[in-house]
Amino acid sequence: MNDKRPKNLDFSTLRLPLPAITSILHRVSGVFIFAGVAVLLWLFSESLSSSEGFARVDSWLSMPITKLLIWAILSGLLYHLIAGIKHLVMDLGIGETLSGAQTGARLVVALSIIAIVMSGVWLW
């Protein structure tokens, strides 16, 4: 491969606009959830193993550390879900303009913050 090939876009020299940040967070949250599934499956398995297991999961979920971990996974899931819905809306041809993309990104951030705070209130 010819190393002197010009680069059209060198991301390290660009200031990322909000839609770019929400897009990279969509990827980061996806990788994070994929790892988090291991935790969720483990809790799921334990909670269904027996009534003692169910009680153990219940008591873990009242511990602040576990709550924080579940909240983190849930936050990743909610963000990924909302950013994903925006993606599907854009697939329908809505909000594909420059200003539309910015509005969409702002909506994703605003709705995600609301959803994440609400899930935190629910957990605590």
């Binding site: 996806g30 990788v31 291991a38 499956l41 909670s47 027996s50 994903g84």
Partner: protein, 122 residues
């Protein structure tokens, strides 16, 4: 530049459709499950077990797990071919990318088998 093609679908359009369809199913499954949990503050073990030992819920959950693996594969494949490139990693890029993708497949397989064991072990 990525020179080896490891996409299962061997077609970007196929991957695109799989990613969207699984996304819609996963969204419905998780919103439904979260809604159920949110509206059952006094959930008992018996209720929880009865829910997941019902045949329809086993099938719906197994399908969610399969959808999750397919969805994660498309996403992680995209990420690996975007970032684990020879531009960033030099000549070892193909080996590293293949190792990453293999690890992803192994994890997905473990999730799938684990999930089946949980659901059909009830």
């Amino acid at each position: 530049m990525v020179t080896n093609v490891t996409s299962f679908g061997r077609s970007g359009l196929y991957d695109w459709v799989v990613q969207r369809l699984t996304a819609v199913y996963l969204a419905m499954y998780f919103v439904g499950l979260l809604g159920y949990l949110a509206f059952s503050p006094e959930l008992s073990f018996e209720q929880w077990r009865d829910l997941f030992s019902a045949t329809w819920m086993r099938i719906a959950s197994l399908f969610a797990l399969v959808a999750l693996c397919a969805h994660a594969w498309v996403g992680l494949w995209t990420i690996s071919t975007d970032y684990l490139t020879s531009d960033l990693l030099g000549s070892k890029a193909s080996v590293i990318r293949f190792a990453f993708q293999s690890a992803c497949v192994i994890v997905m397989f473990i999730y799938l088998v684990w999930g089946i064991q949980i659901l059909w072990g009830l």
